[in-house]
């Protein structure tokens, strides 16, 4: 008969298991090495360089040297705080608009599209295949003075109203805040729709039936079941829209006037035209810090830290 030993024999590690284990322990590091090295050299090191640049003084002719000139930050903030505020404001409005516009479409594709689901998905992604610059230029045509959009809005006296609100000017759409926000919303809308769709699609359709079986009305079902379950998508979509929108300078450049310049425009022109590297670096750092701070607070408050 087989016997059962209750007492613990002296622990004798199974033969031949020690060496492969140690070798296996190094495997992840070998896999990581090239990619992480790449990121350290071309992503982390540049940030350090930029940090040092931001406290340098000098001129293009004499060269720049680190002088721990922190006043650059203060001067940059002082001079460009309107563009900072504008960036955050435009990005926030565009994000809210993306959520408002994107949610119905994501919902439609996830729950109501039936066999059209694939086609609709393709139509959402398809615009990506045309360069976004070309598509943004198309908005110039759509919003152009005397174009059908402007004429219709004028006839319905909407333009008068928006002029009064200060989001448009002189009965035109181009070169106004409205055009810039419209362009931002358009450009980042797919980044809102895709995560929303992913999280909505995971929701079991039977939950809706269960909720309506338990006497919930359609609107209540949405509020109590669908919306809470789609929160991961809402949070991801908001971040994916807000972060790039806050740093964007293409829409303000192509669809706005100098009065709609955002912080991205300032960084771009300081770096590429004025060649004032310390100011550009300081502005970059302020933008990065502001966004990281806002994102951290947002993630904490929405309680989905596992997202990151």
């Amino acid at each position: 008969m087989t016997t059962l030993t209750e007492q613990l024999p002296a622990p004798a590690p199974a033969a031949g298991s020690a060496r492969p284990v140690r070798r296996r322990r190094l495997v992840p590091y070998w896999l990581l090495l090239p990619g992480i090295l790449w990121l350290l050299v071309f992503f982390a090191a540049p940030l350090v360089y930029q940090a040092s640049t931001s406290v340098q003084t000098g001129s293009l002719e004499d060269g720049f040297r680190v002088t721990w000139h922190f006043a650059t930050y203060w001067d940059a903030l002082n001079q460009y705080y309107p563009q900072f505020l504008r960036s955050v404001g435009y990005a926030a409005i565009a994000t809210v608009l993306c959520l408002g516009l994107g949610y119905p479409l994501a919902y439609l594709i996830a729950f109501r599209a039936g066999r059209w689901r694939h086609l609709l998905m393709i139509l959402v992604i398809a615009p990506f295949f045309t360069s976004f610059l070309i598509r943004t230029l198309a908005w110039k045509t759509i919003l152009s003075d005397g174009g059908p959009v402007v004429r219709t809005m004028d006839r319905l006296h909407i333009l008068g109203l928006t002029d009064a609100l200060g989001v448009t000017e002189g009965h035109r759409l181009l070169a106004t805040p409205l055009a810039v926000v419209c362009g931002l919303t358009y450009n980042f809308l797919p980044f809102m729709i895709l995560p929303l769709y992913t999280s909505l699609e995971r929701i079991d359709g039977r939950l809706h039936e269960a909720a309506s079986d338990l006497y919930a009305r359609p609107l209540t079902i949405f509020r109590k079941v669908t919306l809470p379950l789609s929160m991961p998508g809402v949070v991801a979509g908001t971040l994916l829209t807000f972060i790039p929108a806050a740093g964007d300078y293409i829409n303000a450049e192509l669809l706005g006037s100098p009065d709609q310049k955002m912080i991205g425009n300032v960084i771009q022109s300081q770096f590429l035209r004025v060649l004032d590297y310390p100011t550009a670096a300081a502005l970059s750092f302020i933008l990065m810090a502001a966004i990281l701070a806002m994102v951290t607070v947002y993630i904490r408050r929405s309680g989905t830290e596992e997202l990151v």
Binding site: T2, L4, T5, E6, L8, P9, P13, A14, G16
Partner: protein
Amino acid sequence: MTATAPSTGVRLSGISKRYGTFTAVHPLDLSVPAGSFFALLGASGCGKTTTLRMIAGLENPSTGTVELDGTDVTALPPHKRPVNTVFQSYALFPHLDVYENIAFGLRRRGLKSVRKQVEDMLELVQLGDLARRKPQQLSGGQQQRVAVARALINHPQVLLLDEPLGALDLKLRRQMQLELKRIQTEVGITFIHVTHDQEEAMAMADTVAVMNDGRIEQLGAPADLYEQPRTTFVANFLGTSNLITAEVLDASGDELALRAADTKLTLPAKRCTGTARVGEKLLIGIRPEKITLTPAEDAGTVPEGRNRVTGRITESSFTGVSTQYLIDSPVAPGLAVYQQNIERDSRLAPGAEVVLHWNPGHGFGLDAAQRIEAGTDVDLGEGPS
């Protein structure tokens, strides 16, 4: 038995597995005779799957050795062991069709012409016409057969089955049990089967080892385990047992004389684990189907020499083959009794006073120093154990 066994298929010596401070498997010795159908039975988390994985080589034992057919294979990686596994939920390769899944092992060992063998194997598991399907296009039962075929085609010395029927519905499970048993008899390979389903283990295996908490509680033929469990865990986990606490009055003869709540009971001494001493307690176990119910007014018709206990029916439920009663008795609350539905007595209804009686030789005695409800409250969840 170990010394006389013709040849040993698998021998585990002092094998154990620890993860940090948690001991999944306590050191255990086990030998499985070649060609037998062996079942490791236990609740989820009892260490049965870990034991199986150590035989397969998918887990390194913390201590001890694994021998296959007399050869120590403890240091060999899984792909060098003559052992194959049917995984829980099958782990069929989703990107390969049925044919390529089955041919996988042969190809890895460098065989060039696999066609004949694969076709024979498809025949054996009755999947000939589905050879070019992808696994996700098969039903659960078909996937299960592919998993068995994929392992068996390699003619392993031992086939390991990890809850192979867990994902199937009840009816299909019974059918596949018979089929697996047929295949095992046909190919004569040693099968080691891990399951949490006690009926499945008893129906299929020659030998069953009941595992609990990383240890083997008892090992033997299914009928022996059922008729004479040695611990309360086995008594409760394998079927249902009524356990009555009793005091030993006389332990001198072949029959023990016992008393439970002023009721005198007897038990053959040889059906008792350990030695009974006068004045000490022990547990009398009796299976529900071994008890006969007689209405109290007919108490005189109960033959002499049977253990008798009085009680009152609290619940009865009709299940077709039998009727199951719950009876409150002075010796123990909630005694279970199953009566075959041959001639149904309408007086046996909730509230009725009854006499429960059984042949003393059908009872079994257990050490009273164990948890009486061990094995009744275990998690039979189908997660990895």
